[in-house]
Symmetry: C2
Subunit: 138 residues, 2 copies
């Protein structure tokens, strides 16, 4: 049976403070914002997919009558996302984080030689930048 | 400034019951398992990225001394992931879910004509399958 799920189109993180999230993901990481809806969500394009940042206090509410029937969701506690970054670009990310005063929490060399760096967004989510060869995905 | 973040390499969901998660993501959705570590995590390949399912009771623990310094994380409550699916494949997914007794929670036609279906994994995460034109990502 072939695989009808071609890949991941949307990856979600949760953050209560969307202003802080926007300063971080747009301002520091430089992601391309697609839209923001008040204090509910902030959507970014990231390569062939989307990074969606939701305020769980809003998205956990039941869907209002008459709206599109998008099911509720909303997590708390630190989530995790890893961005795909190629070797030489890793230093550019590190420079941006340093310039913005965002500490690197960890810098890991995996057994297969791939490198990962870890840092936190303002909501405390664990973010990683890794070379795709970490997963043999080039 | 160009964008050094090429895309998302790892997307995470959280589930306390990894046996149930494995039956669902491997058995019903047919994702390709890369590895499982006991009751800690379950890793799947999904197209050009990875879907990582973590038991937050394990991943929220501090890193043991001597291990690779991978920062802790772990969320609770329903998260969200959307899979990229092309038109005709949507019906195959729906058939699989029906055959497995997984109810569709919602079937949405967005204003731009793209279709999304929604359902839950055993942990209660909100999963979606959507056509990439939802985000003008073809």
């Amino acid at each position: 049976m072939t695989q009808p799920l071609e890949g991941i189109l949307e990856t979600a993180l949760y953050a209560a403070d969307l202003d802080a999230a926007e300063a971080f993901f747009g301002g520091i990481l430089g992601l391309e914002k697609v839209s923001r809806q008040g204090n509910r969500h902030l959507f970014y394009r990231c390569g062939p997919g989307m990074l969606l940042i939701f305020n769980p206090a809003e998205t956990a509410k039941p869907v209002p009558a008459g709206a599109l029937a998008v099911p509720s969701h909303g997590a708390s506690g630190p989530g995790h996302v890893c961005f795909r970054v190629r070797g030489a670009e890793m230093e550019r990310i590190i420079e941006r984080l340093e310039a913005a005063g965002v500490p690197l929490e960890s810098d890991v060399c995996w057994p297969n030689g791939a490198r990962s760096i870890y840092f936190r967004d303002p909501a405390g989510n664990s973010l990683e930048c890794a070379e795709p060869r970490l997963w043999n995905l080039e």
